[in-house]
Amino acid sequence: MPSKPSPLNSCRSGGCTLTGALSVTTSVVDSATIIHGPAGCAHHNFSLLHATGLDNDRITSLNLFSSGMLEPEVIFGGEDALERAIRRAVRGDYSVVYVLSACIADTIGDDVPAVCRKDWGVPVIPVPTAGFLGGSFQDGVNNALVSIAGTLTGTAERKNGICANIIGEKNLEFEVEENFNEVSRLLSLLGITINVRFIHCAGTGELASLGGATLNVLRDEGMGSLGDLLNRKYGTRAVPAFPAGLSGTLRFLQSAGEIAGTDAVESIAGETGAQASLLEDFSDIAGSSIRFDPVFPGLTDDCSVSEVIERLGLEISLEGVRVPAPLSPPVGTAGVRRLLHRWRRALHA
């Protein structure tokens, strides 16, 4: 039996827009989300989100409705089923209801936006998804964030003090809280507080103050169009990505300081010292020979990882000790420290 999931083309493995969009909409705590499609689609995603919550010691209250499409709806149309699901959802005490469509609903041509436009008493917002037909997981994330940002009518008035929005966190990422904590720590070195996590466990009330921040911090560079949208809407400039690796962390401080109008020299000097101490703490593994674990492939050629290898004088070799590669660039100095702990465990095993 082949062990690889699919032959050839990795561009086909981008996942489903539903999962991406759900990772955003289910993070709006006073909302409900409807998946217009078979119940199995809702279950698959509910189960994934639930498992992720358990992994992160965060049992969130998911409100995921399914229109429960079966064969008759596929043949005769599913808009009535969607209306029933919306009717049921709006009976709950939700501030907003998001509607996502599965691939089968899009294929049979159900007019989801038209159903959502009816007067339901609370906002019922369609998010462009269409299952895999709408693109990838990341497209789903971006579409949901753009849809929600587009519906916000909150003020663009700046808050007192310097504060930042965190934009587009990867809510299904295992280290999502640790990464947020590290970014918060780095921003605090510049005297910057957090305004809104857009969107991570936030209520619609909090989201309304999105325009009040001095700067936005985007999770990664793939969210540039969202950053542009928020800049146009609120005039808020953005740091393009979370800090990746050692020198990336220093550049992050520089960039955030420039946008916030804060002198970052002292913060950068302090963080540079902290990074030197960190590398000293791991001097026992300096010069070791390593190779990346082929069973769990991750990021092996990212410059943030290469820099850590170079700074510790590690050698990549086929005969080296097998160490895990990170799935995404280590966030901040703390991310590098956790990565090095994993490598040291492997080297000492």
Binding site: M1, P2, S3, P5, S6, P7, L8, N9, C11, R12, S13, G14, G15, C16, T17, L18, T19, G37, P38, A39, G40, C41, A42, H43, H44, F46, S47, L48, H50, A51, G53, L54, D55, I59, L62, N63, L64, F65, S66, S67, G68, M69, L70, E71, E73, V74, A81, R84, A85, R88, A102, C103, I104, T107, I108, G131, F132, L133, G135, F137
Partner: protein, 376 residues
């Protein structure tokens, strides 16, 4: 399934994949998007292939992509099973003719076709299992990759059959594919919800009473078998179980219990809790809409909101279910019986079936209830 909130049951496509992937000698291809592929792949921990179709394939036709993947699957030399997901199922492509040059079984089991069990049975029917009247031993039925107790159930039932001097014939669905076409005329069942209907069913194996009755039938049906040692073991272990439960009852009241599982496992849990611990079965919420046997009443609880409402209504001391139920159990004790069980490390293959299955289940129940009392 009508519209529901936070649904708890996988789709028919996943059910089909679970049945097929249990057989060595089959390469399973999910004909659908990567999103459809990932769920069964991560849930079943089995190697699956996927066509990973994209929008362009839907517009231009998915045949070329399917053939590309089937051709790779064919390289492994065994049978290829193609499971269609929702969109390919309605594209109107003649997949059956397309695949006719290959050794392929096509299982049309899109998500909208129904439940996990529907897909599981569709797949098994497509494989066309056959009884060989000359085959020795007994089939073990109702084994499914989705079930976290499946490996333990196989091990325990194989052990019991061995001490009764009965070889195992075919395990459905966890065996070499070739053995699916030489099943024994006799079958015993682990999870009755996934019973295949292959051979004469000599009975279930959930709970000591069922094991005793089933092995009595085995003794009658199979020449050369000797269920005596199984009966002796049941008597001895049941005595230990009764003593442990009696000791619990000297200090504590029986737990008011809410059970959430499939019909077969629910009936087992209710039966042994009532018999050995005099537990009050406050409610049984089933994943499916099927009735529970053995005189226990049940209500459908297909979504987590249904589960939450039942737990709030009955305020049980003990909740039996999956990780889903654990997250809404409040201060009740919890024992995992239903997939998925995700937030605990599970390294040992624990059974539910057989004698060890009952001991294992009741051990968890007693410890969970005592821990809860200690916390209070």
């Amino acid at each position: 399934m009508p519209e529901c909130v936070n649904p708890l049951t996988p789709c028919a496509m996943t059910g089909a994949a679970a049945a097929l992937a249990g057989f060595d000698g089959i390469t399973v291809v999910i004909h659908g998007s990567s999103g459809c592929y990932y769920y069964p792949a991560t849930l079943l921990h089995a190697p699956l292939l996927g066509t990973f179709i994209v929008g362009q394939d839907v517009i231009m036709g998915s045949e070329a992509r399917l053939l590309e993947v089937v051709a790779e699957a064919a390289e492994s030399g065994g049978l290829t099973a193609v499971v269609t997901s929702c969109v390919p199922a309605i594209l109107g492509e003649d997949i059956r003719s397309l695949l006719s040059p290959y050794d392929v079984v096509l299982v049309e089991s899109p998500g909208f076709a129904g439940s996990f069990a529907t897909g599981y049975r569709n797949a098994l029917a497509a494989l066309a299992p056959r009884v060989d009247t000359g085959a020795a031993g007994i089939n073990i039925d109702g084994i499914c990759l989705l079930d976290p107790f499946s490996a333990g159930n196989i091990r325990e039932l194989t052990r019991l059959l061995a001490i009764a001097r009965v070889p195992v014939a075919t395990v459905l669905c966890s065996d070499e594919l070739s053995r699916l076409h030489a099943c024994s005329p006799f079958t015993i069942t682990a999870d009755g919800d996934l019973s295949s209907g292959i051979g004469t069913n000599l009975g279930g194996t959930l709970g000591p009473d069922a094991v005793r009755e089933t092995f009595r039938r085995i003794g009658d049906a199979l020449e050369g078998s000797d269920p005596g040692p199984v009966f002796s073991e049941i008597d001895a272990e049941e005595e230990r179980l009764i003593r442990a439960c009696d000791k619990y009852l000297r200090r504590f009241d029986p737990p008011v219990t809410a059970i959430f599982s499939g019909g077969s496992y629910s009936a087992f849990a209710a039966g042994v809790l009532k018999k050995y611990l005099d537990a009050e079965i406050a409610c049984i919420g089933t994943r499916t809409f099927e009735e529970i046997p053995r005189g226990f009443s049940s209500v459908p609880a297909p979504g987590l909101n249904d589960v939450t409402a039942l737990i709030q209504k009955y305020a049980p001391d003990l909740v039996i279910g999956a990780s889903f139920e654990k997250s809404v159990k409040g201060d009740a004790a919890f024992v995992g019986l239903t997939p998925p069980l995700r937030d605990r490390v599970r390294l040992v293959s624990r059974p539910v079936a057989g004698i060890a299955g009952t001991l294992s289940f009741m051990e968890e129940v007693l410890n969970a209830c005592m821990d809860r009392m200690a916390r209070r």
